[in-house]
């Protein structure tokens, strides 16, 4: 406080009151701003994701023909549907897992397999912020379907298991998840998100394997 304390001790209570009021008002203001920031993280960030999802979905509808082996970072890979999480559950998967790409939707690891390919199709998605596409993937159980609508075909994977791993256990990304030394003969899918919710301590992993391929009719 810049103002010096009064000489007369009888004026102390007034001074004290003013100081306490200032501290109280500042604390309340800081608290309100923090609450607003939490609201922004949980809901505000989703607005950006929603608008980007529209663009990505439009991109998928437009370029309907042919299979793309390599997709540029930030472009649409396929449409992800998980019937167990609701009939409306569909997200456009974006290429890349950098912060910028994950803001747009679930991201595909560029080095992992493409949808339906032999190997591991690996996706990461937010669980609390940016529309939280993977918020409820912990509810997936064995034999639940994960549908990936790529440009050339619809691939239906079935969930095989779930796991919780350390953030650096990159074995889960291997062509055969968890077994980096084995060459794949099947097509797998792996979803990763943070665990527990609101924490970056661990990762929740959902594994699946390709069950059915339906080529798109032209």
């Amino acid at each position: 406080m810049a103002i010096p304390w009064p000489r007369d001790i009888r004026e102390y209570p007034e001074r004290m009151r003013a100081t306490l009021r200032a501290v109280g008002e500042t604390s309340i203001t800081a608290g309100l701003i923090l609450m607003l920031f939490c609201a922004y993280l949980l809901w505000g960030t989703g607005a950006y994701t929603q608008s980007q999802q529209l663009l990505l979905k439009r991109e998928l509808e437009r370029e309907n023909a042919g299979k793309l082996d390599r997709i540029e970072l930030g472009r649409a890979v396929a449409l992800l549907r998980i019937p167990k999480l609701g009939r409306d559950y569909q997200y456009a998967v974006v290429e890349g897992v950098g912060a910028e790409q994950l803001k747009k939707g679930p991201g595909h690891y560029p080095d992992s397999a493409m949808p339906g390919q032999t190997g591991n199709f690996v996706l990461s998605g937010h669980r609390t912020t940016y529309a939280a596409p993977f918020r409820e993937i912990d509810e997936l159980e064995r034999d639940d379907e994960i549908v990936v609508e790529a440009r050339e075909a619809r691939y239906t994977y079935r969930v095989t298991s779930q796991d919780i791993v350390r953030p650096d256990e990159i074995e889960v990304l291997a062509p055969v998840p968890g077994k980096p030394d084995i060459r794949p003969i099947r097509a797998f899918i792996t979803l990763s998100t943070c665990h527990p919710e609101y924490s970056a301590a661990e990762r929740l992993i959902v594994y699946g394997v390709l069950k059915e391929t339906e080529p798109r009719k032209e």
């Binding site: 943070c194 924490s199 970056a200 990762r203």
Partner: protein, 52 residues
């Protein structure tokens, strides 16, 4: 702080109240659209990738 601000606002109580609401909205808008997006990358409560 708020009492001081209230005294500084010009006009009758009604005008003051209106000005206060507008000011509050402006502050919230600046926080929401400018400050929070800048702060957001520093919050790592939603790290989702697996990497070395």
């Amino acid at each position: 702080m708020y009492a001081w601000l209230w005294r500084k606002l010009p006009g009758r109580p009604r005008t003051r109240a209106l000005t206060a609401v507008v000011l509050l909205a402006a502050v919230v808008a600046v926080l929401w659209y400018v400050v929070f997006p800048l702060l957001e990358p520093a919050v790592t409560l939603d790290e989702v990738t697996v990497e070395k």
